[in-house]
Assembly symmetry: C2
Homo-oligomer: 452 residues x 2
């Protein structure tokens, strides 16, 4: 957490590296004993693949499972490759069904089939159930191990039922309540059961249930859980039958992955599927090069616009001086609007149907920004160069800011409407669009004002 | 969640708006009854201030408190202004101490003092305790209402103690264990207590405790809670004495606010303190104009660089055509690197001490990207224009990509080292820096290759 902890962690990390490099097994075993699972995960995420496997093999069995569960799926795959077959089979059987499915998606098909075959029948069935839901749906990430209550139970009977499942349920703090057809009718907290006077039934203490459908998008479901600030959400099938539970810790993991993806996409990087320092340079290059090329090809639009005005440019070379400033400001204005609206969408403050409200707001915001920046630029340019150039720059900023804010604000909503990811669609494309349009506006205004 | 729900929500939202505008109180009361607290929060966040107050007054008392707790502090302030004094005093007394402090920070000092004075003494003391911690520290956001256990208690005795505090504790699922000097020595889950064989002591079932210090930064503490995927973290003072608890739902709220802030800062907007649609246009303009001006002033650096090369430009006007493309690609490359490393820092995958590892990685990534993009650009420009211009563009992209990735990757680490927020410091500044440096490289290469 604080400075001293960070330094201590650094020192341990270096000591572990040294012990592995020098093959000092006993020192290493002692060192690893002092570490919490979270520390070990952190160490593994920052080591190269050889060190990862050595470190992992040093862990006592119970901790090994805990550490394995917390690693990214890509690192799990690497470890599975580095460990012996029987170790892997035992580990695989100990995982929760949802974690198992995540790992299966990462592994080569032959390895996945072999591992599935080695599972006890009951575990295999639960795993297959989860595997049946579409990729990226919450059905894939939910846990099928929950404790369901019936409404007619007394709270004392319910507590007995909970007590019997303390070992195998994913959570016992949020208890879905279902009727005789397994339809979800509410949820009760363990706290509510404990707090109820004797003789109360579950029906009397349960609340109206929030829930998600197994086919819902995993990120949307996790966001729903985080928005409601609940510890767990029941998951139902299309007939509202209870089939699983999404706990807040799994929701947090899903959101963490999704945020990484969004942030990456906003700046035009394919999301990395593993921690930064363990990713090979080649995969970093691959994650970026496609987007860079796409954006660069988009940017050739600006070359074409400038070519059209090459004659104007050669007459007044001074016009070229302001090109980076003007398109930079346009891009910034557009990105500001896009980020604000994208964030509003993610939090549910803005809905796609608010299109015209957003359009009108951003038009006014852009106009105000354009008036302010345009006035400043007019004054400064008039003083340093001349009033004519000042007029061109001022008017251009006014128009570009208005256009950029409006386009930037509306684009994420349009992206959502056509079901594209607003984070992917917005920022890089807005910049390219605003660059080209801004140049066009600039030279048209210049030609009109300077009379060339 | 899904399409149908969103449409339903839209319809209800319109019906509520209409009922308020037409003053149909009974219809409104009926409508509001059908809504969950989450729905009402959503409605309030998307209404103007008049509708907000009307809507809020329609709520039954229990729901009103729940809705109020979930609103952003800025909206809470607006509501306090719109409600009658005795309603506010009752509401204020019902809030949890941590929520109360958040609201107090928003209110004018005179109103805050009056409300504090109206509290029962015990509640006032708890509130004052929280108010003593620095702004933005987790001490401000923790709950002082927890159930602490002693290690020598049997699990049965511990359960009795938990049962007595079911009504007033923030959580009973995570139970900090403290010794006779109130020092934190571990935590036990309610599940562990329930699962223990008779006669077991708390000391036997408790785990090593993760914890945060009250003076720790609130965002770092919340991130710690989310990283560990625990339901609650004990909060201790500088002597390791237990003084509060941070629950995962509060951690989620803190992270949500922090993410909004980071995303805003990455694209140069001051974070909005209220939902987008309820923010006045004037405050949207204010949140953006300062950054736009700062960035625009930074961008005048590009005007100055270009001015130095005005003579070169007037001789080969074609050079101007590629300016937006080149600096755009440089900016994109830098942003990609900065975003990846910033995200790594936030998740703890990268530490400031990894500076040279990151430098070396990003240098190689940038060089590879530059070689690829440079080769493509050389081929294309040579074909369309001529080989000399192709050489200039190709070499410039090679140098600019290498420089941009290296600077972009290292900047967030430097920002962290000087204790600035990497999200603020990185992207906008990288773009400005890369723009100016890129132009310099471009014209130096052009002069060398074209011999002008």
């Amino acid at each position: 957490m604080n400075e001293a902890d960070a330094q201590l962690r650094e020192a341990v990390s270096r000591a572990v590296d040294r012990a592995i490099d020098d093959g000092e097994v006993s020192a290493l075993t002692e060192l690893v004993k002092t570490l919490s699972s979270a520390d070990v995960v952190n160490l593994i995420e920052r080591s190269d693949s050889e060190h990862q496997a050595v470190l992992y093999r040093m862990l006592p069995k119970g901790q090994a499972l805990e550490v394995f569960e917390r690693l990214d799926a890509s690192l799990q795959r690497d470890l599975v490759g580095a460990l012996q077959d029987d170790t892997v089979a035992a580990l695989f059987a100990d995982l929760d069904p949802d974690d198992r499915v995540e790992l299966l998606d990462e592994l080569p098909a032959t390895v996945a089939r072999r591992l599935l075959k080695g599972l006890p029948p009951e575990e295999r069935e639960k795993t297959a159930g989860i595997l049946g839901y579409p990729l990226r749906s919450i059905g894939r990430r939910m846990s099928p191990e929950f404790v369901a209550l019936r409404p007619e139970l007394t709270t004392a009977e319910a507590l007995v039922r909970v007590t019997r499942h303390l070992d195998d349920a994913e959570t016992v703090y949020t208890l879905p309540v279902a009727d005789e057809h397994r339809k979800l009718i509410g949820t009760a907290g363990l706290r509510d059961l404990l707090n109820a006077p004797p003789g109360t039934t579950v029906a009397e203490v349960m609340h109206q249930a929030h829930w998600v459908r197994a086919s819902d998008d995993a990120e949307a479901a996790a966001r729903h859980c985080a928005d409601l600030k609940v510890l767990a959400l029941p998951v139902v099938d299309n007939e509202n039958r209870l089939i699983g539970i999404l706990t807040v810790d799994d929701a947090l993991q899903i959101l963490e992955d999704a945020e990484s993806e969004d942030q990456a996409r906003i700046s035009g990087v394919e999301p990395l599927r593993r921690p930064y320092l363990t990713a090979p340079v080649g995969s970093l290059v691959r994650s970026r090069v496609v987007w860079l090329l796409v954006l660069a090809i988009g940017a050739t639009l600006t070359v074409q616009v400038l070519e059209v005005f090459e004659h104007t440019l050669s007459q007044v070379v001074a016009l070229a001086l302001f090109v980076p400033l003007l398109i930079g400001t346009g891009g910034n204005t557009g990105n500001q609007a896009a980020t604000t609206v994208t964030r509003g969408l993610a939090l549910g403050d803005v809905e796609p149907s608010d299109l015209f409200k957003v359009l009108f707001r951003e038009f006014r915001v852009g106009l105000s920004l354009g008036l302010l920046l345009g006035a400043v630029a007019f004054a400064a340019t008039s003083m340093i160069y001349d009033r004519q150039l000042g007029t061109v720059i001022g008017l251009t900023l006014l128009s570009v800011c208005t256009m950029a804010a409006t386009v930037g604000g509306v684009m994420p909503l349009l992206a959502r409407t056509i079901r594209a990811d607003p984070a992917v669609f917005s920022n890089p494309f807005i910049t390219t669009f605003v660059d080209a349009t801004g140049l066009l506006i600039y030279f048209l205004i210049a030609k009109a004002v300077l009379g060339i």
